[in-house]
Symmetry: C2
Subunit: 229 residues, 2 copies
């Protein structure tokens, strides 16, 4: 790509809220800023949009360039435009979000970053700029999402117990769910196939394992549903 | 406001998709463009964002300036960024949407427009630019919305029949709904108060009238629900 075509749109950026689910913990990917403003702070991976790219492309490029996370689907959340959100000049930022399995990605700091790390969503994160608002909006979108679309295929092992699946939902929603109600409703969606396999090496009674019925999962993903928890 | 502070951000615009519901018809507000490009075409009301305003403010201002529609709540839908979406230069556009009662607004062409008019959503509309995509995205959002939030308070008369309410839903969703199922579910939300009033001057059997329980309506609006139709 020529230098000219690489020019950025100076007042338009993208910020990525990438959630990770691993070992019963919901986390968010942050990068350590190399330069000013807010040098040294842990921020959402972000950057300026090039004149030659659409926003979706910018999000994918920027995430990879700052943290090495690639080949994931990012979805647009909301555009943030407070006049003073960026201290140096007027910058409008388009937020994107994704939910991935951290184990499948090797973090590596890149452009404008000195480090990239997962932070627990429930921990005490001191966001720079308006990143707390952006993060909150994306988390809210994720919480809405689990009520309307199937989730878990890319996050759980191929065979999993209903408790593992419930843990995923509880981590995302940040609240405990009634076990009986959850099971009834999740099985009612008919996207799980019960296996003749059971958990191994557990102290409690071994639970049955399930896998996703991928075809139904895809149909529900396209069609959406209303999952009342 | 001084001339300097009125400067626009040249590559950032807002487009408004304002839906109207009136006499059992879902309509969209379009304005006739005064200047080039696409002079004379019927387009979504839009304009450039000022350096001194946030996007929400821009949407409200632009809608009023182009069509005289004011004092309504506009909600951000999505940001459109195709490289060639605007023929003269790179412009990213943030779409907003609203659903209003056309009777309550007096349309008047304003800045950059020669006319403002309601068009039937189901009619054959030849949108300029990428306005068809923007319109489709907003309509889709509206259709999602009626499944998650109460609707109708600002659109129906104070006292209305269940058939009127069902018509509103059918117009938005663009499909017929089963009468029994609709009634059961809508009454199940407990946001309607049955009145001891009935329709007057109708050929068929006069139907009972209802009004919204405003308190419950507001609670449901904040909390959201899952309305399976």
């Amino acid at each position: 790509m020529s230098t000219a075509s690489k020019q950025i749109i100076k007042n338009l950026s993208v910020d990525c809220v990438v959630f990770g689910f691993e070992k019963n913990s919901l986390e968010v990917l942050l990068i350590k800023r190399k330069g000013n403003p807010e040098k040294g702070s842990w921020a959402l991976p972000g950057g300026f949009v090039l004149k030659t790219e659409a926003l979706d492309e910018a999000a994918v490029r920027i995430l990879e360039e700052t943290s090495n996370v690639k080949n994931i689907y990012l979805e647009q959340v909301h555009t943030f435009s407070d006049i003073n959100r960026f201290p140096l000049r007027r910058v409008i930022s388009v937020a994107y979000f994704a939910l991935i399995n951290p184990e499948k990605h090797f973090l590596k700091p890149g452009i404008d970053t000195t480090d990239a790390k997962w932070f627990e969503v429930n921990g005490d994160i001191a966001f720079p700029f308006d990143h707390e608002s952006i993060f909150a909006k994306a988390l809210n979108q994720l919480r809405q999402r689990v009520r309307n679309k199937p989730i878990g295929f890319e996050l759980l092992p191929e065979r999993f117990s209903l408790t593992q699946l419930q843990n995923l939902y509880e981590c995302i929603l940040g609240e405990s769910l009634d076990k009986r109600n959850f099971r009834k409703r999740i099985l009612g969606l008919k996207m799980l196939i019960p296996l003749n396999d059971f958990e191994k090496d557990v102290a409690h009674r071994a639970a049955r394992l399930y896998k996703f019925d991928f075809k139904t999962y895809q149909v529900l993903k396209n069609k959406g549903f209303n999952f009342q928890l």
